[in-house]
Amino acid sequence: MTTATLRETAEKQFASELASLAKVDDKPRPAKWKLSPWAVVTYLIGGKLKDGTIITPKYVGNQRLMEIAVATLATDRGLLLMGVPGTAKSWVSEHIAAAISGDSTLMVQGTAGTPEEAIRYGWNYAMLLAKGPTRDAVVAGPVMRGMTEGKLVRVEELTRIPSDVQDTLITILSEKTLPIPELNEEVRAVRGFNIIATANDRDKGVNELSSALKRRFNTVVLPVPDTMDEEVDIVHRRVAQLGKSLEIPAPAPALEEIRRVVTIFRELRDGKTTDGKAKLKQPSGSLSAAETISVITSGMALASHFGDGTLKAADIASGMIGAIVKDPVQDRVVFQEYLEGVVKERDGWKDLYRACKEVL
């Protein structure tokens, strides 16, 4: 492992876990799968193996959702992971690919500018000019490679891709072939190939999926964390990991501080206080767990580089307001109301109230 890599792929980072799972896994495996569906679910949810190996949970949440996702891939239907930003869609898709195919690098990143070639294939123009259209001149994209090698291919942010380009996937999903009309040939997928797409249906600037494409996917909606403790757990776990890899010297923050941020985000997201006594207006942002994590890590960076090393209310205030106040007029009003109505009244939150007041 080179120390220069900012972020390792999932299959490298958790290589030892995958190896021990493969060792104990005696259940039937679908063609080309590195692990059985059961082992894949265990890898995602975590647990203790027979030989004593601890598998860390990759997805904190409902096990049933992971079971549906893995069962879908075992039926050769495409898997569509939907959810608001920050519900660990890409994270899950990466780990599923790593566990099933041992390779999470076959990936198409969807953007507004994703061309058809990124999904199908491109041409090596020098060779095309020299030799004419031959199979050698075809530059295989991730999808084509996944089809020939029998691996999972991830399409990230499917809904950002322009609609006409999205529909390129229809033939691949239903016929499992990729025609190359220039050569009068086609690439037929071998067993083990499948597509995991992630999409989000709430954000601005998304292209809705055509129903023809939607029909070809099984959809799993990843929800925002159910309970407060679950969310605090997710944030705490990720913050500790990130802190390590970003080498932020500040010690991992106390759970209390994380709990405060999670509480604020949850309350604003749900539109009511946790005790259920007061209704609140909701801001326009999504306030996901991912945003909580970034608020905490940036707070830690602030504390260690400019403060005394421990995370204080002032360190998280600016990050938090940045995450909540996305619309300078309406969200500001929302947060001000929340600050005066809820934060001010809460015991032991005076420091946070003052810090936020200063920034706002």
Partner: protein, 783 residues
């Protein structure tokens, strides 16, 4: 899996017991409303051919058992046992087609076997002190305690077994192991296995530390069951089958009965106070069989169980096809291709979870993922219509009536109201005690959605608030409404209050709440009014629709005004009205910008209603806040109708000088304005009453001059609006205005004279005289 080995082991012992004790009663331990249990019970009974079938059910209803074979009887139905002296406390014992007890009863009646209920009679049950006078807080409050069949410990016990077998919850485990069985085993072997499993659990939970989680009446109930079994044996029945909840199976065996002295059981039953009870069959619904309805021994999915009961093969294909068909009926996508994919996913999920065949969980997940595209909303429809089901049962007409029905009949009798299928119009004078009580009854029935009496608009209604007119007509489907409402309570009053509280806790928007408030006020339900007010406050806090907020004010003002008379705490309402009024005043002007004609008319109604309501309150703070806003609205850029009305409100309230009003009228009617806007303004200003025009000659002259100044085509366009405005005035008002105008027209002919000159007659012949001269000058032109 724990269950399987258990069954295998039990098969051995059952063989043994079968051969050694042929006369011992056969115990069929079941899950209430389990189709698998029902199927096994039926097969076991067909094999055993017992001459007596003893069922865990209320002996109070013994005479009603034979009605189960009646042709008119269609499950789901329920046995209702209640105390005629205190109809508040009642117990329901529901049966579905797939309930093992139901199948046992039907089989027994058909085979001419003796069928008996052996549970502790309801008349002997020492229910926790009934709080009858208190209005129930939830509509189902008398269900849980009324439900004897599932002591809490049994659920816990199932959980224990399920966890041992690797399932997340007891219901799913039991459902998978017993109810979704296809019946290949010897049923008696399975029953013995169940009994063994329960026996080991009962041992585990035997300690006094579990007493709290146990049904306090378990001991007398089981004692009574044993006593009944002993009696049946004594009477000489040769082959006895006992159908009871699985939990009770271990203590009803021959062995257990032999080892328990009859005296001990008698002691357990001694000293139980006996009450008078009555019983009846009532129609039940699948929805109320479900857990959600608060029914203790309910099942999560009656519709699914019925599916399992009706179909023997191709469960997955049939279920998912009916899901897809339902979705198509709801205009959602549900193609056969998707059915295939969802069947495949459900099977692959079952495989991943190590199950032989997919169950309801897998089907739901496959439906969500494939058919609904991850959108959980259609699943709600599926849950309501398929998983729970909307089936309504029927009972023979000779079955006795429910307490709510009784209460209704008693009330009708005491109020001297006749029930008839013809229309009857009833005029009530609320100053009379009897009529007031009648009116309350009608409003309560309206709250319960039993539309027997419908309020009628009456000309006399406007003459005073002490009159109400109702149209009464009894229709057969109202009996079903009564039974439907019976889940909320056993008297009309308590049921109406419970229903209001239930709706209030579920309401999302203001209009239904305020509508209910009107009824609840007139129905004299102070408790219900309080819970409604609370709901209104919390809903209003987040409501962004000013229109809804405005509509809430008049009813609330009514509560405030008449609340003390009807014993509602006005102090509770005042802050809510103030809060609403502040929100309305803040949002009034933005809400009135860019209104079209229809929206303006609706807004006009709301403004009028609030103004009238505030008028009755005579609260200085409120009226100042309101008139200040109305003044601002009158000056703002809004629809003419609303603007005109604002000035009229200010004029009527003497908030502005009459000179200002005259200026405003002249401004609004001045020729620079679009005539259509002016006429809308005039409509708003004059709507309701034309008295201003009679009393203020200046205003009349302004209006008159404006009408005269209209060009003929514009007059034609604005005429309908003017007609509508003036048409709404009372005939004497119109006559007076006309007379005044005739007088003014005579006094100042100049206006009409000049108009006549301007549009004076044109004589063609005289004009033609000039033409030859013009021809001379211009030469020949063709025109």
């Amino acid at each position: 899996m724990g269950g399987k080995t258990c069954i295998a082991r039990a098969r051995k012992c059952s063989d043994k017991s079968h051969s050694s004790m042929t006369t011992a009663p056969h115990i069929l331990g079941i899950r209430h409303h389990g189709p698998g249990s029902a199927r096994m019970v039926l097969r076991a009974l067909q094999d055993l051919k017992p001459d007596a079938i003893l069922i865990e059910g209320p002996p109070d209803a013994a005479e009603l058992i034979e009605m189960a074979a009646d042709k008119e009887m269609t499950p789901p139905v329920a046995l209702l046992v209640y105390e005629p002296d205190a109809p508040q406390s009642a117990s329901y014992f529901p049966f579905a087609e797939f309930s093992p007890e139901w199948q046992a009863i039907r089989h027994g009646l058909k085979a001419r076997a003796e069928v008996r209920f052996i549970d502790l009679p309801r008349s002997l049950r020492q229910l926790p002190a009934q709080s009858a006078p208190k209005a129930p807080t939830a509509p189902t409050s008398n269900d849980p305690e009324a439900q004897p069949q599932t002591p809490p410990s049994r659920i816990d016990a199932l959980e224990q077994l399920a966890h041992a077998a690797g399932y997340s919850d007891g219901e799913a485990w039991w459902s998978r192991l017993i109810e979704e069985r296809r019946g290949e085993d010897d049923p008696m072997a399975v029953f013995d296995a169940i009994r063994e499993a329960m026996a080991s659990l009962r041992e585990k939970f035997a300690g006094p530390e579990h007493d709290s989680s146990r049904d306090p009446e378990e001991v007398p109930r089981e004692a009574h069951m044993r006593r009944s079994i002993r009696a049946a044996i004594k009477e000489g029945f040769k082959k006895i089958a006992i159908v009871c909840g699985a939990w009770h199976a271990p203590v009803l065996t021959q062995q257990f009965i032999d080892s328990t002295p009859a005296k001990q059981d008698d002691a357990a039953l001694k000293g139980l106070e006996k009450r008078r009870t009555a019983a009846t069959w009532i129609p039940w619904t699948h929805g109320r069989l479900a857990f959600d309805s608060g029914y203790g021994a309910g099942v999560v999915s009656p519709g699914w169980y019925e599916h399992l009961w009706v179909h023997h093969d191709q469960i997955a294909e049939r279920w998912l096809t009916s899901v897809a068909r339902l979705m198509r009926a709801e205009d959602l996508e549900g193609s056969p291709a998707n059915i295939i994919e969802s069947v495949r996913l459900s099977e692959s999920l079952a495989m991943l979870r190590g199950r032989a065949a997919p169950g309801l969980e897998e089907f739901n997940e496959a439906t969500l993922s494939v058919l609904c595209g991850g959108n959980p909303l259609p699943l709600k429809v599926i849950e309501r219509k398929l998983i729970v089901g909307e089936k309504l049962g029927a009972v023979p007409s000779r079955a006795p009536a429910v307490p709510l029905q009784r209460d209704l009949e008693a009330t009708q009798k005491s109020l001297r109201l006749k029930v008839s299928a013809d229309d009857v119009v009833l005029e009530l004078d609320l100053r009379k005690e009897n009529d007031l009580a009648r009116s309350r009854l009608f409003h309560r029935l309206a709250l319960l959605e039993i539309p027997w009496a419908e309020p009628q608009e009456d000309a006399k209604r406007s003459k005073g608030t002490f009159r109400e007119t109702w149209k009464l007509q009894w229709k057969p489907e109202l009996s079903i409404c009564v039974i439907e409402a019976a889940r909320f309570g056993n008297t009309i009053e308590s049921a109406a209050a419970a229903r209001v509280a239930f709706e209030a806790s579920n309401a999302k928007s203001l209009p239904p709440l305020t509508r209910m408030l009107d009824h609840a006020m007139l129905a004299d339900l102070p408790g219900a009014v309080a819970s409604l007010l609370q709901a209104i406050e919390s809903v209003a806090a987040i409501s962004a629709d000013i229109g809804n907020l405005m509509e809430a004010i008049p009813s609330l003002a009514g509560v405030l005004r008449y609340g003390n008379v009807r014993k509602t705490d006005a102090a509770l309402v005042l802050p809510i009205v103030r809060g609403l009024l502040i929100r309305v005043c803040a949002g009034l002007i933005p809400a009135c910008t860019s209104l079209d004609d229809d929206a303006a008319a609706a807004m006009l109604g709301r403004i009028n209603a609030i103004d009238a309501a505030l008028g009755t309150l005579e609260d200085k703070e409120f009226s100042e806040m309101w008139s200040e806003r109305v003044l601002a609205l009158g000056d703002s850029q809004t629809h003419g109708l609303v603007q005109g009305r604002c000035w009229r409100i200010l004029f009527d309230g003497r908030k502005v000088e009459s000179q200002t009003i005259a200026d405003r009228v002249s401004l609004a009617l001045s020729p620079g304005n679009d005539p259509e806007k002016s006429s809308a303004w005039l409509e708003g200003f004059l709507s309701g009453s034309g008295m201003v025009l009679i009393h203020d000659p200046r205003l009349l002259a302004l209006v008159d001059a404006w009408v005269c100044s209209l060009a003929p085509d514009v007059f034609e366009r604005t005429c309908p609006i003017g007609r509508r405005t003036f048409g709404s005035f009372a005939p004497p008002e119109r006559r007076q205005i006309g007379e005044k105008l005739k007088r003014t027209a005579g006094a100042s002919p100049s206006v009409s004279g000049s108009l006549a000159a301007a549009t004076g007659d044109y004589v063609a012949a005289r004009g033609e005289l000039v033409l030859p001269v013009l021809r001379e000058i211009f030469g020949e032109i063709t025109l």
